[in-house]
């Protein structure tokens, strides 16, 4: 286990630098924005030049960019993300309120795409070049070419508008007083379409990776050796070929988490799911720069944590990771 611990420690140290770059970079980018939170406030609330001046001073916006960056970093150390003008609430509270919905959506969509995708990938990769393989891989390519927002709309037209099987939007029935299991079921029911829209596209990615990985493993000597040892084909496919081909998929799981978070912006917007992605769109609409910065930062931290978990999982799956000590 020291092997895994060493890896985690190294990743954590690297992550601190990465997050620092993210904070400074996105802060500088958002500084370049024409207009600031005060403008946004005045546009929505009204006010004169005097109010603008006093607000700028009160929010520290009259200081230099570097001073404000230092102030921002200092506040971050105290887990203070600033104040959202659009919501008139601390950004941390707004973001943390929305985060669980996005994590639920992302987690479910990831599970769907990873497990179903790799399973279908094994089916395709078990006999490379077979009709089954060609159908599955070309079909998955077509699926991978579908824009997620459009798939979402088509799902809405078919399952919500025409068939009326599933709810059109939202995360739960509005103004229902459901509690406990009934509420969980209600939320799950609402999330079926969003999860499918987000998950099916990445399913294609995992299917293709699994298939391509297996095609590569089939060519390796140890598979010929396994055949020479007379192992049943089923065991060769599952215990050797698929097992080895799975490793890059686990890496992809980490890389993909950032893309999934980005993809949830559109999906949450189509289905009106009150999550982080929709919040980002609201922040853009309201010119709420500090809120946007907070969302980017929280997303980055989420991605870092997911990657850490993925690294640990990978180290458990691949005995070679971090093992340079044996000659």
């Amino acid at each position: 286990m020291t092997r895994t611990l060493r890896l985690v420690r190294r990743r954590l140290v690297g992550s601190v630098f990465v997050l620092l770059i993210v904070v400074v970079g996105s802060f500088l980018m958002l500084q370049a924005a024409p207009g600031d939170a005060v403008d946004a406030y005045v546009v929505s609330m009204g006010g004169d030049a005097g109010l603008v001046e006093s607000l700028r001073h009160a929010w520290g916006l009259d200081q230099s960019a570097w001073t404000r960056l230092a102030n921002y970093l200092w506040a971050l150390l105290h887990l203070d993300l600033g104040w959202s003008v659009t919501f008139s609430r601390p950004i941390r509270d707004v973001v943390l309120e929305r985060l669980p919905n996005t994590l639920l959506l992302m987690g479910s969509a990831t599970a769907l795409s990873f497990f179903l995708g790799s399973a279908l990938g094994i089916v395709a990769g078990a006999r490379p070049g077979s009709l089954r393989d060609r159908l599955l891989s070309t079909g998955s390519l077509a699926l991978y070419a579908v824009p997620s927002f459009w798939l979402a709309l088509v799902l809405v037209i078919v399952f919500a508008v025409d068939l009326r099987w599933l709810p059109i939007a939202g995360i739960e029935t509005i103004a229902s007083s459901k509690t406990g299991l009934a509420r969980v079921t209600d939320i799950a029911w609402h999330l079926v379409l969003p999860i499918s829209a987000l998950g099916f596209i990445y399913l294609a990615l995992y299917l293709r990776m699994m298939r391509a990985g297996m095609a590569e493993v089939w060519r390796q000597d140890f598979v010929l050796a396994a055949r020479a040892r007379g192992l049943p084909r089923r065991r060769i496919v599952l215990a050797h070929v698929a097992r080895n081909a799975l490793l890059p998929l686990v890496t992809m799981l980490g890389l993909q988490s950032a893309q999934m978070l980005g993809g949830s912006v559109v999906i949450e917007s189509v289905f009106s799911v009150p999550g982080l992605g929709r919040l980002a769109q609201e922040a853009v609409a309201g010119r709420d720069t500090p809120l946007l910065l907070g969302i980017i930062l929280v997303s980055a931290v989420t991605v870092v944590l997911i990657n850490l978990a993925v690294d640990i999982a990978y180290a458990l799956l691949d005995p070679r990771v971090g093992a340079g000590e044996v000659a």
């Binding site: 000597d221 020479a228 040892r229 007379g230 192992l231 097992r243 080895n244 005995p319 070679r320």
Partner: protein, 269 residues
């Protein structure tokens, strides 16, 4: 030489193998392997010796076109149960992410119908037999934690796990250094003797083959050049190609081939 009187374990008749549209890798090979013998198959690159080894174990790629027959004594054999196969590359022939003990145990499980615990116990015994140190610990090791020689011992343990009649070693020692090679050859010889296994030893090294085998088959360009008892093939080769192979061999017992070059060099030391 009791082996000489026994019925052949395998009889090849007119075996021809071609990959794609290229010239055949093997042309009309007739060859008997006698039960209990140590037969060496030697040849240079492109001679078809590996193709022949793979053909015995039914491991040729699906794209290979074959003609001719391979007849076995009794029923048709099953890879792993009746034929053990050891490959050239010790690093490549083991699954990198499975503990080596399991890779041996799964063979025993498949062919001997053992439960996992029994199969793992058998793997442990086999590790001892192939001379791996501390078998109880090593069964849990992964291939990257072993040296090349140790990996080849694991591959041998997997090959003999189901007590096969025939052991095929396809250049099994050529990726190893001289000292380890000698150890593995000695081990193969011992295992074959202890279990009464027939041995097919495929090699490019004529001296190595001469030290190990009862009989030697010489291949060139997919054709069988010469086949006979080792003493005869090495001592009184009939075929001109065999003679040229022996002449080209540079060994410890060969005369210095470049005496002239050495003489003209300035004396020193």
């Amino acid at each position: 030489m009791s082996a000489a009187q026994q019925a052949p374990l395998v009889a090849l008749r007119g075996l021809t193998v071609a990959y794609g549209d290229d010239a055949p890798a093997l042309s009309a090979i007739d060859l008997d392997i006698r039960a209990g013998e140590r037969l060496a198959l030697i040849g240079e690159s492109g001679s078809g010796k590996s193709t022949l080894a793979l053909a015995f174990a039914d491991l040729l790629p699906a794209s290979a076109k074959t003609a001719g027959t391979i007849e076995w004594e009794g029923t048709s054999p099953l890879g792993g149960r009746d034929i053990g196969f050891v490959f050239q590359n010790p690093a490549g022939s083991l699954d990198p992410v499975m503990a080596v003990g399991r890779q041996v145990a799964e063979v025993a499980r498949t062919h001997l119908g053992l439960s996992w615990p029994d199969a793992l116990a058998r793997a442990c015994d086999l590790f001892g037999r192939v001379g791996l140190p501390d078998p109880d610990t090593l069964v849990h090791a992964f291939p990257h934690q072993l040296s090349g020689g140790q990996k080849q011992r694991v591959a041998l343990a997997a090959a003999i796990a189901a007590r096969p009649k025939l052991l095929i070693a396809d250049e099994a020692t050529s990726a190893l250094d001289t000292i380890v090679q000698a150890e593995i050859v000695a081990l193969i010889r011992r295992l074959a003797a202890e279990d009464g296994m027939t041995l097919l030893f495929v090699s490019h090294d004529i001296a190595l083959a001469a030290e190990l085998a009862d009989r030697i088959a010489v291949l060139r360009g997919g054709r069988l050049m010469e086949l006979g008892p080792t003493r005869q093939v090495i001592g009184r080769p009939q075929n001109s190609y065999t003679r040229s192979l022996i002449a080209a061999h540079i060994g410890l017992d060969s005369p210095p081939l470049f005496a002239a070059a050495n003489m003209s060099a300035p004396a020193n030391g």
